[in-house]
Symmetry: C3
Subunit: 424 residues, 3 copies
């Protein structure tokens, strides 16, 4: 539970910061992510062409509010950064409520919640507020102030690479552009950071593991534009989103649908024994849609609890610190660690005594007295021996035998030690 509490503390620390797809809030977030890890931050200038897109101007906000005639702030960015439509252009103007209204966004179905809205690629401004706040606003004149800047600057993203024995990569990607939304995606960030710490402490990794912390869509596109060739090394990946809430896990498959990561996630979730869903890829959601675009087709799935757009708190002020819990974060961390372990430990072997079963007894690998019960590890050895003709992977064998990947992997290691198995 320590890891769960620590992850929740990180979420709480990041929560108040006003993040966007560019700007100082994003930079501060990367700084906190990278405190204990060798994070490398890249700054890409506004105006840079990235694939079909252009890096936008950098957005920063000093202050934003709507004040009534008496000067009282009736909507105040300082109370919640969700009040301001993200990427609002600056404005300073007095106007009647009737003129202000088209710029005000509420959620009538949840009258106490503030919605989260953005306007990155269309110049606009606006405020978000609860329906009750809006209903309480009397007619009259209001001072509208958005003290923001939209100016040439940079888009920032962070990368952390844990080298492995091969250049084959596993990619873990989290979007880092949402402001005060705890589950989407501070929870994903926290699980990613703690997975990085866990794996960094390992003595051996077969794969190189790359952690990417970039703003949604434009950040992934910028990274892809700058890493076209390196991207081809990615053999498996996941985007992490909404990993702290109380919903059961949902894993969203890659475009191909049967990539190693799809099977590893399905295996781990199935053996976890708790309810979960596996859903097919669809070209909406998070950055798996960029990694999976036809020019790249990287095998990147997505792991989440609450699903994109499918729970009422999604993209509202109700996605707050109470919506995520240490226990769920810890369960998420255990699960993603197991999935990465399956990918990293998945290999092919060849049985070196393939004619009949080798005599395990004289190697001390078999109970001596013939009875009727067989322990799991012995069963796992028989499966590995029978199927290891050089083609199936350990995950194939685990799936077919209905034994855990861990048992199959342990059996393979034991057989390799006894000279009965050779990696392919």
């Amino acid at each position: 539970m320590t890891a769960g509490a620590d992850m929740h503390a990180l979420v709480a620390e990041l929560y108040p910061i006003c993040r966007s797809i560019t700007g100082d809030g994003l930079r501060e977030t990367l700084r906190l992510i990278g405190r204990d890890l060798p994070l490398q931050v890249t700054e890409v200038p506004s105006g840079t062409e990235v694939l079909d897109w252009t890096v936008p101007r950098e957005w920063n906000v000093r202050d934003a509010y709507v004040a009534d005639a008496g000067g009282t702030r009736v909507i105040d960015f300082r109370r919640s950064n969700l009040h301001l439509v993200n990427y609002s252009v600056p404005i300073r103007k007095r106007m009647p409520l009737a003129d202000l209204r088209p710029h005000l966004h509420t959620l009538p179905s949840h009258p106490d919640w503030i919605p989260y809205r953005t306007s990155y690629y269309e110049e606009a401004w606006g405020f978000c507020l609860s329906q009750r706040q809006l209903d309480a606003l009397p007619d009259g004149e209001y001072d509208v102030v958005i003290d923001s800047t939209l100016a040439p600057g940079h888009l920032s993203y962070g990368e952390l690479v844990l080298p492995g024995e091969t250049e084959d990569e596993i990619l873990i990607s989290s979007h880092v552009c949402h402001p005060s939304l705890a589950d989407d995606n501070l929870a994903g960030i926290a699980v990613s950071v703690f997975l990085a710490r866990t794996l960094a402490a390992r003595a051996r990794r077969r794969h190189t593991i790359r952690f990417l912390y970039a703003p949604g869509t434009i950040g992934a596109i910028t990274w892809l534009a700058r890493n076209r060739e390196r991207a081809a090394r990615i053999k498996a990946g996941m985007t992490f989103t909404c990993l702290g809430d109380g919903h059961p896990f949902t894993y969203k498959r890659t475009v191909a649908g049967d990539a190693d990561i799809d099977r590893a996630a399905a295996h781990v979730l199935a053996r976890g024994g708790t309810p979960h869903q596996i859903i097919d890829f669809f070209p909406y959601g998070y950055d798996e849609r960029q990694f999976g675009s036809p020019g790249f087709r990287l095998p990147v799935g997505s792991l989440m609890r609450g699903r994109h757009g499918q729970f009422p708190q999604y993209h509202t002020s109700a996605d707050d610190l109470s919506f995520v819990s240490p226990d769920r974060l810890a369960e998420s961390l255990r699960t993603v660690t197991e999935i990465v372990d399956v990918i990293d430990g998945n290999r092919r072997f060849r049985n070196l005594e393939p004619y009949g079963e080798p005599q395990l007894g004289r190697r001390g690998l078999y109970r001596a007295m013939g009875g009727t019960e067989i322990p799991d590890l012995q069963f796992a050895m028989l499966w590995v021996l029978n199927l290891s003709d050089g083609r199936p992977t350990l995950l194939d064998i685990a799936e077919r035998s209905k034994l855990s990947f861990a048992a199959i992997r342990a059996a393979a290691e034991l057989l390799e030690q006894h000279g009965l198995l050779q990696p392919v």
Copy 2:
């Protein structure tokens, strides 16, 4: 509903004619089918070798009856052409009821209905009547008269070809040999004729559409014998039968089972939202079995409502004008039009901006303000962009996205107009 009423009127006009696999009734039927369409009629002489078969002698009937001793017609071809076993040889003879009985066919399970029977390839004669009629016949002598001719003549069939941009063909085949049976197959004929009128009015057709109106089995075999090479151009096809009754649709797959026509029919029927069945090919039924024979293996399925031999009215006098309705005919016409539209509109595209998602916003193809609901067309665009790497067809994309073919096709056209997509 106009089309429905018009189709029912055509069924009613064709109903009284005594059709068979040859003869003047068949010719008159083709004349009525071709009134408003450029139907081309072919006459093939009796004795012509066609594949493993021979075109039979032509059969025509002037009169046929059984009269009692007092001269009263107790079974009369003029009242219903079903009373005469189709292809009966001529006879003029007085005989006791005991000798007549083996030539009389009834349906004891439906004592008011007249069955439909044929004896095309075995020389025989007979009458069909209701069980009640038979039960009412007193013993005694009867005059049996069949004033028919079986003589060298021709087998007739009609073809209507709507040229398209390519020589790839869609075949719509209806059998035209059944006498006074409304559903089997005047309904199929009527839907075919009105589909032809609908498609003839179109400005563009990618496929050439061929409508075949031929007698069952021997007609299809004759057409195939005379069109061995042309047949290979058929990329999709359906036989139309029993399309006017009240049963839900049944689509019978091609021999291959996964041809384009199979998938198009399944897609349209599934999205129609009404109960329906998809059944596997079996080598019985209508002319799909000839088109699908191993020498041709044409991808021809079969669409019907009531299934061959599976409803009590099948091949009886109860398959009359009241058994088919304008509404059902109209629904059938809508459905077959949609199926043909899927086949004709199904193409492959290549995404010209395949690296990441293209920025739809700056092309005016994307809502500006980030919220949580996405309209279908936009979703369709994202699916088309993601999957269009040159391999999947629009139908593949519709199936995978669970969106309608129409939405996927509209999205593809929009993206093609904006230079984001190129046909393969």
Copy 3:
């Protein structure tokens, strides 16, 4: 029922013999199996290297017992050969019950049954007895006598080969090493022997049929070691075990899972109309695991009623003559005969009139008067004609048509006689 009674009599005759993986009991068993059949017995010397194994010393027992201080035999091999742990080394010693106890094996969950235990590859000795026997033993001194020999000798196995028109083989393998256990595997042996008699009486066999009677594991391994090249001729096979008890059939698939034998067994069991199970291969059970090892990968499944280790009487004295019945043995014989018939009769044909349907009527193969019901054989002919383009086998056609293999085979023979079909 004669065959059932005869098989039960053979089981009863073999029951008292003390079999093991070597020795005179095994030899006597092979002698009785071979009485009416040209069985060829092979003797392989102890110490022979066979694949990863070595043929062990030969084991024979003259006597074995535990006697109390008064000289009364409280455990006596002469009463049941299950009392002695199979392959026990010789011993002759007086000892207190406390020292004897670790060598005594019981089944506390079934206190009246004697378990069956072996120690082939670890030098050990022991006795098996019922829990009640054990509970009744007073403390005190006991004389332990095992008058066995473990000495250089031979491992014996028997083979019966019925030559066929081709060298392609069907293998029927039964283990013959278990002592007084009626179902496992005297029932399997009896069904194999009577299948051999049935097939030997046939005029034609396309396949060569090989019946193997060898001790479990080491016997199969020895046979494989001596027949590496011949083994490749095996196109289908089954191990027979536990075929006399009251459980429904279970067929265990080959490693590949979709071999001809898997499909033949599934077809016959499904059409048998009684409950049955088809289970996937797993590398435990009987000698299918040796035949299926990666170096050989022979398509050998396993047919059984009671499943290996899954019923309480398994490997206990309750697997006695009352546990198997003539009726079940007879049903097993019928079933295995049908499975072999499917394999042996499964061929590919080419339709010689592939363009359209051939006119069956003029060949006398079709009812003359058109009605609505079609007999099975006629339907089978249409299926065979439509699908026989040289690729599908008769079993493929039976599966697709949902008709019996027997009907499809009869149709193919009729069509072949009429010159419409040619074997490929």
